[in-house]
């Protein structure tokens, strides 16, 4: 039971971390660029922006710790790729909460209309 509890607590914290990781314009633009599909290097992601390589790296690490991007090595290069799973999971979570509301509000409706 307590292991289950730990798992669900960890999950909720993870949801919040994913929401929070996405709550930054620079990180959103990085996600936007990477969600196009192709893994990209830090140099590619820095190109055309006024943001320093160090800052981009820091933002990528935040996204990585939330599981939204992963770094992959090809030869000597380190590339970053987008992982849609955490965002899909958030949508499923909100879907479950919304489903509970549908149930209770259906009961409210029959109560007040009876």
């Amino acid at each position: 039971m307590s292991r289950l509890a730990d798992a669900s607590a960890a999950k909720r914290r993870h949801h919040a971390a994913v929401f929070a990781a996405l709550g930054d314009e620079t990180r959103l633009s990085l996600v936007n660029a990477l969600s196009a599909g192709e893994p990209r290097s830090i140099a590619q992601l820095t190109g055309g922006t006024k943001i320093t390589r160090q800052a981009i790296t820091k933002h990528l690490r935040v996204l990585e710790s939330a599981g939204i991007v992963h770094s992959v090595r090809t030869g000597r290069r380190s590339l970053f790729e987008f992982d849609p799973a955490p965002m899909t999971e958030l949508q499923e979570y909100l879907g479950r909460v919304a489903g509970q509301w549908d149930q209770v509000l259906a009961r409210l409706k029959s109560l007040v209309e009876s």
Partner: protein
Amino acid sequence: MNTSIEKRLELKAPVSRVWRALTDHREFGAWFGVKMDGPFVPGQPAEGQITYPGYEHVRLQTVVQKMEPERFFSFTWHPYALDPQVDYSKETPTLVEFRLQKIPTGTLLVVTESGFDKVPADRRAEAFRMNDSGWAEQLSNIARHVAAG
């Protein structure tokens, strides 16, 4: 991606009837599936025991925010707080709001739940601090982008 939940219902009942069903703690209990300890009072905690089959071990813990008769009722709580082993009081609550509006057929009820994006206080690292400018919109842009890709 939307970071809040919104439900709109047209109820064939007068606003006064819906208001009573929402804010009288016994009536609230009847449709929500909870036996409340006492009435809802703005600024005060309101707690009860869930009566819905399978969830009888769960305490419902809310803090009433605002009650504007026949117009607006809100409280904070911890969504999906179904696990008795977890101390939900340490986590950032979400905000539930009920808005009532008179329409020709009865009452339009709009229910929203928001605040799913808040990081629990004990995990609020500098790196996760967010800007508070309309990023829900940006998220939905991204979601569209992802769906299109």
